[in-house]
């Protein structure tokens, strides 16, 4: 724990840690080459595109081992100063990269999973004429994401934050000639912008309150006296708003399902494994701020719990395989949010779920991509069925991911999700029990929709049209899937074993809660959870697996199902609250500008012109009228002279 006068300081990087900047530079340079090089690089572009994240991964691994080889006496938080970015009076922003346990964890996830997905994409995008651009943008994403997790201050983090948003925008809209893709890309960017407003307000609040926005400065200053809890709550809530935007948490969740318009590797890398978890990273990184503001933590927990449930419900209703997975991502991130919201000591568990989820969800997305690849890019699960025989490798790897996500022992999801449920219940009080119950119910729902997905895709009878010939994907796609499947199985062990991850992350996010303070024994809880999960599986089999899947979704369904199919009315709410009034407001303002503001200006001009024209009418051209007015004028002048003389 932080002590009141404990200042957070980072050691200056030396030796191998001076290579940290290369982590970002490799993919950034590769992206620049691929995007600026044009068609000349078409031939070897994808190779460079794969090499860049791999190179970063290698450096990441080297630095990881260098980091764990530093013993307790040495700081495991190493800051590398690159250049001074914005120096204005007190506002001093550096471009510094911070290598600490939390960031290296993310670096390994991003570059590791990222490399695999890059390799997979070589096969997946083989027939696309713009494959080089795809790799360029994917590299751009990796660079931005690495910058996000390596930044040592919030402003630089913000650069990465928007950078991944840009990459996400570009990649969702990769097939921008499809109107749906263009709209989805725009929607993702806009919703993220709303979240970004939160992040920028948070940074401004930090600057106005502490005079700094570097991690070390802020984390030191939060414990100073004179820090008002209201301010901390505001900062926490604003950070949460940012996190909600990026991580598709309620109320900013609506963009994620549409984002599935992007190519499937993009969904795997950006909208499952890495970018959408940036919100979790942000909250975990800002642990020091949430530590001092219980109300902000509660808000994080509520957001997590609500989204967890919403995602699970939405996942149950959709027929689009990618959308089901996207809803599941929302739901799983809800778990992570719930975990990091639980406060001191649970951050590490949230991160652990993030890592395991990174493996199994990426794995399943790649699997879904493989299924689509073999089915003429069909995404509707009602057109699948019985694919396990035609696509055995995909089926097996997908199955690993499936078992991991529903949390079957010994797959990775079991370890991380169980811990979250456990921590929620350990929080105690009414909220703790509620969140625990929600988490357990969520596990059941997860089991239900994932089983439904498995059944509709891989089991049953074939339902695809006659001209479709499902086939297994090429090796270059299967190998990454296999590696990720292995990760889905093993990651849990490696991370949980002896609390290794939690210990490792302690310098960054604080130590874990003390053992032995459980309200329910972990064993009992595991059994309960497993039972609920199996109940979910059974329910799915009962409702979906027993009878043939209809080709069209049934129309006579309950209102709740209809709402779930419409993603719990997320878009409808946005449209009726923001879009339609906004469109009216815009139209009214354009009208007002043309008629009101400009009308006033032009009206003034017309008034002058008009009165001149009217005045002109007195020039009748009749000499006698002029003579009359002259005489009248002479009379008036004479009278006034006389009056002046007399008066």
């Amino acid at each position: 724990m932080y002590s009141a006068l404990h200042a957070v300081t980072y050691a200056k990087s030396t030796g191998v840690f001076d290579l940290t900047f290369l982590l970002v530079l490799f993919p950034a340079a590769s992206a620049a080459v691929l995007l600026l090089g044009g068609r000349r690089t078409d031939r070897w572009g994808h190779l460079l595109g794969c090499a860049a994240p791999l190179a970063s991964f290698v450096i990441g691994v080297i630095e990881f081992f260098a980091l764990i080889s530093r013993d307790g006496g040495q700081s495991r938080q190493l800051d590398q100063h690159l250049w001074t970015w914005v120096p204005v009076a007190g506002f001093h922003a550096n471009v510094n990269v911070l290598l600490d346990p939390l960031s290296i964890t993310f670096v390994l996830l991003i570059t590791g999973v990222g490399s695999l997905i890059h390799i997979y994409s070589v096969g997946y995008m083989e027939h696309d004429p713009d494959r080089r651009r795809f790799f360029g943008e994917l590299n751009l994403f990796v660079a931005a994401m690495l910058l996000l997790v390596l930044a040592d201050n919030y402003l630089l983090l913000y650069v990465g934050w928007e950078g991944v948003g840009l990459a996400s925008y570009l990649l969702i809209g990769f097939w921008s000639h499809k109107p749906s893709a263009a709209v989805a890309a725009k929607k993702a960017f806009l919703v993220n912008r709303v979240g970004d407003v939160g992040l920028s307000i948070a940074i401004m609040l930090m600057f106005a309150t502490f005079g700094t926005f570097s991690f070390s400065g802020v984390f030191t200053a939060v414990h100073g006296p004179g820090v008002r809890s209201g301010t901390m709550l505001a900062i926490g809530l604003m950070l949460l708003l940012g996190a909600c935007g990026k991580s598709a948490q309620a109320p900013l969740q609506s963009w994620l399902l549409d984002a599935m318009e992007g190519p499937t590797p993009v969904s795997a890398l950006i909208h499952a494994a890495t970018m959408v978890t940036a919100g979790v990273y942000l909250v975990a990184r800002s642990g020091a701020i949430y530590d001092v503001s219980p109300h902000a933590r509660l808000a994080v927990e509520i957001v997590g719990a609500v989204t967890l449930t919403m995602g699970a419900i939405i996942g149950c209703a959709h027929d689009d395989i990618k959308k089901v997975l996207a809803a599941s991502t929302m739901s799983q991130i809800g778990y992570m949010m719930l975990a990091v919201g639980l406060g001191p000591g649970v951050y590490a568990i949230g991160i652990m779920h993030l890592l395991t989820h990174g493996f199994f969800k990426a794995n399943m997305f790649l699997g879904a991509g493989s299924v689509m690849h073999g089915n003429n890019d069909e995404v509707n699960m009602r057109r699948y069925g019985g694919l396990r025989k035609l696509m055995p490798v995909t089926f097996v790897t997908f199955g690993f991911g499936y078992l991991a996500i529903i949390g079957i022992i010994p797959f990775s999801g079991f370890f991380s999700k169980d811990k979250i449920i456990e921590s929620a219940l350990d929080k105690g009080g009414a909220t703790g029990d509620l969140f625990g119950a929600v988490a357990i119910a969520g596990a059941g729902l997860t089991a239900f929709y994932m089983t439904r997905l498995m059944i509709m895709t891989f089991f049953g009878v074939k339902r695809w049209p006659r001209d479709v010939h499902p086939h297994e994907s090429p090796k270059i796609m299967l190998i990454p899937m296999a590696i990720l499947a292995a990760g889905s199985l093993l990651a849990g062990y490696l991370l949980v074993l002896g609390g290794s991850l939690q210990h490792f992350l302690t310098p960054s996010v604080g130590s874990s809660i003390e053992q032995g303070a459980h309200t329910i024994s972990p064993w009992v809880l595991s059994v309960i959870t497993l039972a609920v999960v199996l109940g979910g599986v059974a329910a799915a089999w009962w409702l979906v697996g027993r009878k043939p899947v209809p080709a069209e979704p049934p129309t006579h369904v309950t209102l709740a199902t209809k709402a779930a199919r419409r993603s719990l009315l997320g878009d409808d709410i946005n449209e009726s609250i923001f879009m339609h009034p906004g469109a009216y407001l815009t139209r009214a303002l354009v009208f007002f500008d043309n008629r009101g503001v400009d009308g006033m200006v032009n009206g003034l001009a017309a008034l002058v012109g008009g009165s001149s024209a009217r005045l002109r009418r007195t020039q009748t051209g009749f000499v006698r009228s002029y003579a009359l007015s002259m005489l009248a004028g002479a009379l008036a002048i004479a009278v006034s002279l006389l009056l002046v003389r007399v008066g």
Partner: protein, 99 residues
């Protein structure tokens, strides 16, 4: 009889001339009215000379006559040329300056 009766007479004649300018439309008659006004002023100038005991007023009246003669020459020539082009001597018809 007081000398200033001439001035009253002059004023009356001037006003009649002015009204004539305003109400008549025949350009030549208008011109005559202008001459009447000039004559009225001349009368008052001569009277002023008598009142002041100096010849300057008479001199000015003389100049007025000369200038009036010049003015009549030019003015009538203008009326002639207008009449030639428009077959009308009405001042109301010459309204090219209308807005």
């Amino acid at each position: 009889m007081r000398v200033d009766y001439y001035l009253y007479l002059s004023a009356v004649l001037f006003t009649i001339g002015a009204v004539g300018v305003l109400v008549r439309r025949n350009a030549i008659v208008v011109f005559m009215c202008v001459e009447l006004m000039l004559n009225a002023v001349n009368l008052s100038l001569v009277t002023f000379a008598r009142l002041n005991g100096s010849l300057d007023g008479q001199i000015i009246a003389f100049f007025v006559m000369v200038v009036a003669a010049a003015e009549v020459v030019v003015g009538l020539a203008i009326i002639m040329s207008i009449f030639r082009s428009r077959r009308s001597a009405s001042v109301d018809d010459a309204n090219l300056l209308k807005y």
